[in-house]
Symmetry: C2
């Protein structure tokens, strides 16, 4: 269905909504958009630039394929902007309705990520700069139950941690729609298109926005600097490396998850005012790395292996036992996660000058085996806990990708 031309979209709507869209003023808008979507479709060479009429641009026209064995948006080098939106399914949504919803949303995503207006897009011109847009879907336990499927063992809220101050408005959810692109207008438009098509089936539970450096603002492959000024994510499995697949892609879970992964998304508030009161040596001791270049305190370069046995002249470890670097490091080979987080910075309230933090996002084959032991160690002792507070938490199954004739979730429902 994803491959069919725009012109057949009306009959799809008709099928889905029993002809309601055909009645009244809505019909003209839908048909008008269909016709326009056709007129604005990309040219045969696959670029949207000529249809957009403003000339090709490197950032705007960059495409990430939607279809494949894995969903895009995990291995994809992180885009500048991310939006994570969780929805709660309406009570009357059964397996058949889920199937319809996932087919529509996958079709929308297949189009909009390729710079083509989704069916019934009433602002199709906004779809013409994909800017590496990816749309990644995740399933909470509620959705898997509604589908009548078998959930992976780890698909449930994380165990409670002592540092947590979780708020329901940033936690849990049945369906995740994760959008990423190098252009904020592209994210806004794609989010609206998908939410419009989801709203017959589900309500928005929460929506969180994050950012990194702009495309072209730093050398590609740079480690992200968070709002504490730390390089964040130095030790991270690299897509394409020997152990990446084993660490990230599901193995041994229910069959429908083959080619899928898990996402742990934690909203971590950062106390920037408290952090300001710590001098640089204190900050570097808390992290175990130099702030300037991210090198471990025992090394010279960012990716040098830390030497946890090294001692100061007076006999203390150079990298302290309470440091984030030491506590997050495991001796168990498979206890690693793939991080792909974002900064957030919202309007401050109540006399504060910042409401900022990190949308911590990690992907791993098995939450219980990989994420939980690391987080337990950090919960017990990590000096960074002094200035960081998890205020939201959610776990989603990220199902595998789909082919041009399928939809995300077609292995489940």
């Amino acid at each position: 269905m994803a491959g069919e031309p725009g012109g057949s979209g009306f009959s799809r709507r008709h099928l889905l909504f029993g002809g309601a869209a055909a009645a009244g003023a809505g019909a003209a808008a839908v048909l008008g958009a269909q016709a326009l979507a056709g007129a604005l479709a990309p040219t045969e060479d696959g670029t949207a630039a000529s249809a957009r009429g403003v000339g090709a641009t490197a950032v705007g026209d960059a495409l990430v394929p939607f279809h494949g064995a894995h969903q895009a948006g995990v291995e994809t080098p992180p885009q500048t902007h991310a939006r994570f939106i969780a929805l709660d399914l309406r009570s009357d949504v059964d397996a058949a309705a889920l199937r319809r919803m996932l087919r529509v949303l996958s079709d929308d995503a297949a189009r909009v990520t390729q710079g083509r207006a989704p069916l019934a897009d009433s602002e199709p011109e906004l779809a013409l700069a994909p800017a590496r847009l990816t749309v990644t879907f995740g399933f909470g336990p509620g959705l898997v139950a509604r589908a009548g499927g078998i959930a992976p063992d780890w698909l449930r809220p994380l165990p409670p941690f002592g540092v947590d101050r979780l708020r329901p408005e940033w936690s849990d959810g049945d369906l995740l729609i994760h959008l990423g692109a190098d252009d904020p207008v592209t994210v806004a438009h794609a989010a609206r298109m998908l939410l419009k098509d989801a709203r017959s089936f589900a309500n928005v539970r929460w929506s969180q926005q994050g950012f990194r450096r702009a495309a072209g603002a730093e050398a590609s492959g740079s480690t992200m600097r968070n709002l504490f000024g730390q390089l964040d994510g130095t030790v991270n499995p690299v897509p394409g490396s020997a152990d990446f697949d084993e660490l990230v892609w599901s193995n041994g879970g229910p069959g429908w998850m083959a080619g899928g992964t898990s996402l742990v998304l934690r909203r971590i508030a950062m106390d920037l005012d408290g952090w300001d009161r710590v001098d640089r040596p204190g900050r570097e001791a808390a992290v175990g790395r130099r702030l300037r270049d991210g090198a471990p305190l025992t090394g010279a370069r960012e990716h040098d292996e830390p030497d946890f046995a090294a001692l100061t002249p007076v006999g203390f470890p150079v990298i302290a036992d309470y440091s984030h670097l030491r506590r997050s490091r495991s001796d168990v080979p498979g206890e690693r996660i793939f991080r792909r987080g974002y900064n957030y910075d919202e309007a401050p309230a109540g006399g504060a000058v910042s409401d900022a933090g990190l949308l911590f996002a990690s992907y791993q084959a098995d939450v219980d085996r990989q994420f939980v032991p690391i987080q337990r160690r950090l919960d017990e002792l990590d000096l960074l806990n002094e200035w960081t507070t998890p205020v939201g938490s959610a776990v989603f199954a990220i199902p595998p990708g789909c082919g041009p004739d399928g939809y995300v979730g077609d292995s489940l429902v």
Copy 2:
């Protein structure tokens, strides 16, 4: 002061805060940051790239001069990200304190816009990608009164309009800090630096974020498309053109405003769901322009002059009297404004799928002569009012720029 090396910053702090910063743990942090700010200062060739150590990048290293006859951020081609922050002065801030505050903030802005860490920046690495950062200051009537200055006649809340549904949390304020950059991390860091230095003098009243297309995502000089899909700002004075200076820069007001301008900032909520129910011909009739390319309904290209006398075969005007294009057009030559607005799109609440709109920003020499008559005509009759609601409104005097030895506002206080 702006030109002095980082090392003298401690004495400046000492001067400003009576030595409080020198006591306790804060001192080490401040001194540490000073030392680092020196170490990270740009090289003699004026680029921050070598100090950043990640190689030059076109987007990250682009600089907009801070000092000059006019403040930057008005004529500057709009950056991707904007943040408008309004502050209320503390009750004990007198003219002498205002002077200290404006000197500190101007010094911060002079540094951070040039890719140099401000004094006492505790995350100086985040300052190294200016990405066309501009910092523009605006004064509300409260600040001018506190300075003992003469306010321009137009420096007061706009007259009430019938369409207004204004909320105090997005209206008014004593001091505006307007940041713009092509990189969202740069904006976040600069905003925090300035607010930290402002907080002894003023509290944040509101903070609003907006966005346009990413740098490199569309051809330069393109008119912005808003979230209705309209090209927004086609008829706009062009910086450098014959009448720009007369339209935008203050003339005939109080002497301290020479080289300054006024900003009208309106938060305009857009009812995207209602707009969705309008077909494309209906939308184009409401606007008076084609959605696809922004051409007036009587023309072929975006910048064609509209023909308001043209009639349809059955005798109606092609560009309707109620259209936004017709209503916003004045026959009085000086009744024009310079728009520089941004989209906004926040997390929706209460079952909605969007909370989106426009941060309408216009600059003009005289609010009463230029903005108010246009807005009055639109208030009386403009079909777009059906789907747009002003929910915030503020007017600021944008004082002239300053030289390297001065500060923004030095003509006032």
